[in-house]
Amino acid sequence: MMLEIENVKKKFGDLTVLNGISLNVEKGDVVAILGPSGSGKTTFLRCLNFLERADAGRMVFEGEPYDLHTATKADIARLRKKTAFVFQNYNLFLNKTALKNVTLGLTAGAGMKKAEAEEIAKAALDKVGMGDRLDSYPSMLSGGQQQRVAIARALASSPEIIYFDEPTSALDPELIGEVLTVMRKLAEEGMTMLVVTHEMEFARNVSNKVLFMEGGDIVESGPSRAFFEHPEQERTREFLRTVLMRQQGETEP
């Protein structure tokens, strides 16, 4: 098991956001985390990379245990060397070109030589189809292009796992495809990915596991195929009916 997550809990004031979430991830898994807005899925993902501090929870990452509540700065830095995070609103460094966005973590973070970092960065940007926009600043790129640069930035550090927090939710509909194509390619190459998403097509056809959350609890989790074809919970069936109907509505003229 590459990643075992146990009993993650989080409250914001009186509001329980995560009520004990557990998840096991194998190498090469693509886990889609689904659920209605406010279900806690983004908070869950952020807790795993310590962007939020959980109130309780444990995680074993490649054999190394981490306490999600008490982890030290050093623990967190060690963990983040093996992970990468892709944000809903990209969060590219606005004062850096596409190329510098990708190299900064390698040079200033990992202490790599500039030439070596640029070589890696160019390869990563090529992979996401942004190899011809090395000198563009984020403000000169479309949302889809920015998100692809963000994915290149995530790839450049050769992470063991990439967390995606609603990577296509901020995009215009016609730009979603280019990002999903890149993510599908990564999945096919065996990258381990945890993806909070509303894209049912992606969850169904690319991910191999699904975690369905609501109100801070897991409603249902398991292999994608089973989840979509034989959902066990009535709530899951209801959710699938609503979202699938809505997405069908969107594709019809």
């Binding site: 969060n91 460094f93 004062n95 850096k96 900064l104 973070g109 550090s157």
Partner: protein
């Protein structure tokens, strides 16, 4: 214009200009440098929420912004010697002007830092950067661009405020005008002349500001 006044103005101009360049300009540059260091530290302490020091910074800003510059100059130059802290007039002026403008600029810089999206910081952490490195490579450059016009304002104010140093015996451009005037009694002519030299200096700074803003706009206009 009568010939006497004309001659006074022509004679005094090189003197005034020379005091402007030799005293007013260095006083501005030194005080502004001190203000820059102080304000950056104070802003970073507040932005990084450094425990304990944060209250000290709020106190400093509260006191400095709440008292007149003239009173601060008098306190430091005439007041502090009675508790054994004696400074020459010029360094005293640098300290007071620097810490005075530092308090205003600290708020400017803090506001600019806070206007940088929190997501920039999070993205920095996620690619393995430490807080100081994120500040240096990402947040400060962006904040600087936002703060630049207001900081230019501070510098222009400071250039003019150096004239207050005349009150604590610093022989700078305005004090020199007072000295010459004491001999020839041509207040309108001499103070008008010194005003024009200040105006020329400030015009140069304004021109620098425009150039600076142009250079800083290289990474595109849209910010989300």
């Amino acid at each position: 214009m009568n010939e006497r006044l004309w001659n006074i103005l022509v004679d005094s101009f090189p003197k005034l200009l020379s005091y402007g360049i030799r005293v007013t300009v260095p006083l501005t540059i030194l005080s502004f440098s001190l203000a820059l260091v102080v304000s950056l530290l104070v802003a970073l302490i507040q932005y990084g929420q450094v425990k304990g020091l944060r209250q000290v910074c709020r106190f400093y800003i509260w006191v400095v912004r709440g008292t007149p510059l003239l009173v601060q100059l008098y306190l430091v130059f005439y007041g502090l010697p009675s508790v054994g802290i004696v400074m020459d007039a010029f360094p005293a002026a640098v300290v007071v002007l620097g810490f005075n403008e530092g308090a205003y600029m600290a708020e400017t810089i803090r506001g600019a830092l806070e206007s940088v999206s929190r997501g920039q910081l999070e993205a920095g952490y996620c690619v393995g950067l430490t807080f100081p490195k994120i500040m240096w490579h990402v947040v400060l450059p962006q904040a600087f661009r936002t703060a630049f016009p207001a900081m230019s304002n501070s510098m222009i104010s400071m250039l003019k405020e150096t004239s207050m140093a005349a009150t604590i015996t610093v022989m700078e451009m305005f004090r020199q005008a007072q000295v010459i005037n004491g001999r020839v009694y041509e207040s309108l002519g001499l103070y008008g002349e010194v005003a024009l030299i200040y105006l020329a200096f400030c015009t140069f700074l304004t021109w620098l500001q425009h150039r600076g803003e142009k250079r800083l706009s290289t990474y595109g206009g849209n910010r989300t």
